[in-house]
Symmetry: C2
Subunit: 374 residues, 2 copies
């Protein structure tokens, strides 16, 4: 029983944390509940309400299926649902009218629509629409023979769906909207900051290693550095969420400082560049972990300064880019910071080139010291 | 008009290629059409058919929404739809019965269910189920007052959905099934092969560079090497598809050589390790591209052999692992191949350590040659 109780409380704690980390998630739940309550009120007060089979069902269904976390998702689904319902109804009625019965065209149309979901463009923009197209087409094709009854029913159905979509969009847009574009923007800036932090922490952690006696006291500090150094891992797998957010953001109307044709595609490019950088950090930290025992101390000491300088300059470039993204202004001194970084890189390269002779010198000096001791 | 025609033909070509690359996609479209035709036949021949509003609608809707490309996806959606419908109906009727009207509990239940989608476990396994739960709960809650009518309707609804799910599963399982587990398995083995190819091609391409006069004739060969060298890029972004396939594969019954509790979770670990390797290849090829002009020719010549040996041995290890995955047998000589690779790495390391003195020797020898010329 104790084990069960601790598991339940552990689960409750995790759930609470999910809500506490981002209260907008709780808010989203309340918004969905509110939208559904709104639909049900709308239909309770109307005389055309006649049980679950009636029109209310379609409005409820639309709200449940269309309401998404971000405004972009909501618009995407709403638009897809509306256009797909209308176009599938039109096609089905057309086929019906031409062929007087549509069962001959049933299989080819649904098969073609299903196949179209494998086309990348359709997949990213109209996947949901194709589902609804197949659904509506099948329903109309299965439904029967008389076209005039179908037309009347279609009108009612479409108006109900329109009400559902309207309520969704209104609640989603007016009550604490979550914009996919803004999320994407913040994610990009945050990832860039994390990358800067981990470039710095990774190199610092390697060179700033205290001698053995001091290491114990530095443990808490080291773990903080470690968390910072692992920041790049968020960047490694960010492609999926970036892509989906960029796709949804396209559907959003202009809001705040995000204008109508905000270049959301560019975020993907920036993300790809950041991932490229994160791959390098990953490879670098892999090298550091495996090579730690092998690098001779004098070499490490000799290169420490210039390596640290390169890391600091590199993260300065990333931080400046990130803050210019956050502020949505053109970076002022980025050229200068990049030039500084390049200088640091060249210094490091020349030091590496001189390394063999330096090491030899130092070794002979040490030998001399040792000789003098005698 | 010409531009339009070429665009249309280009699009048609791309669509054709999607189908030709994997004919199972076309087959999937036909399967969906067939399942829908089956449902409609089933309802055409039954007297309870009464237009779109009737029971047929729920069966059609179930088939459209539940039918997925892989068997795992189909089972996942079918199971979720069935359990969510039943449980949401039970909860709604329970609330209805206790409170005599459920509108007080409407908002909290839907809000809580929506919020639960943010919990990772629920998200990966029951996301679709939660949608259906909210939908069914809202429909029942909105639908009215008399419990006895509700129960009768619920029975009919559930039997219809069951028929829909049964038809889906039958068609999906019996006609050319696509198993998510098998896809995952093949993807893993293929990615490993690609990785092996690109490790080899990347190092070979760097060292096997012909002198300028031969380079022209080697261009087609070089582009083939390039495609091979870029193989690792598939591995970089494979996380999302691996995760989703592993999640779906869990729902699949035992099939072929995939037993009941096949360790699909392990594929994720293998995938993570492969991505780690791909990050290193990416960093390496980045270095090669930028450093090409800088490495002095003698150093390159001196290290070529041992570098090539490391690359060959490394890709041999990967190839052997991949073929043992494909054959689903324990690798026989993998330990030996790994030991060979480690030897090659140690040789390379010792050569790198001796590099400075060797280069100095060679330079002085060249100088001597030059002197002798005079």
């Amino acid at each position: 029983v104790d084990a069960l109780a601790s598991r339940v409380s552990g689960f409750a704690g995790r759930v609470w944390k999910i809500g506490a980390d981002d209260p907008r998630r709780v808010l989203h739940g309340l918004k969905v509940g509110f939208a559904l309550a709104l639909v049900s009120v709308f239909y309770y007060t109307r005389p055309l309400y006649d049980g679950v089979g009636g029109a209310a069902m379609w409005a409820v269904m639309t709200v449940v299926v269309v309401f998404e976390y971000t405004v972009g998702g909501c618009v995407y689904k709403g638009f897809n649902r509306a256009t797909a319902t209308v176009s599938a109804g039109a096609v089905a009625l057309g086929v019906h009218w031409v062929a007087s019965k549509s069962s001959d065209m049933f299989e080819p149309v649904t098969a073609a629509a299903t196949f179209s979901r494998f086309i990348p463009t359709v997949k990213t923009r109209f996947d949901y629409g194709v589902t609804i197209f197949i659904l509506t087409y099948s329903l109309v094709a299965v439904s029967g023979y008389r076209v005039d009854a179908l037309v009347a029913m279609a009108q009612q159905r479409i108006s109900t769906i329109a009400i559902g979509i309207f309520i969704c969009l209104a609640v989603c847009l007016l009550a604490f909207p979550v914009w996919a574009g803004q999320e994407l923007h913040r994610l990009t800036a945050r990832n860039m900051d994390k990358l800067a932090g981990s470039v710095e922490a990774c190199v610092e952690g390697y060179f700033a290693e205290a001698p053995d006696d001091k290491r114990q006291s530095a443990a808490p500090l080291a773990s903080a550095t470690n968390t910072k150094a692992e920041g790049y891992k968020c960047v490694l797998n960010s492609k999926a969420s970036e892509d989906s957010q960029a796709n949804l953001a396209r559907w959003e109307p202009a809001h705040g400082r995000f204008a109508f044709r905000h270049p959301y595609g560019q975020y993907k490019n920036v993300g790809a560049a950041m991932r490229h950088c994160a791959y390098c950090v990953e490879a670098l930290s892999g090298c550091i972990r495996s090579a730690e025992a092998q690098t001779p101390e004098p070499v490490k000491r000799y290169l420490a300064n210039s390596c640290m300088r390169v890391a600091t300059r590199c993260s300065a470039v990333l931080r400046e880019a990130s803050s210019s993204i956050t502020a949505m202004t053109a970076p002022r001194s980025l050229d200068f910071t990049v030039a500084e970084m390049n200088t640091a890189v060249q210094e490091l390269q020349s030091e590496v080139r001189e390394l063999p002779s330096k090491v030899a010198e130092e070794e002979s000096a040490q030998l001399m010291d040792a000789v003098q001791l005698f």
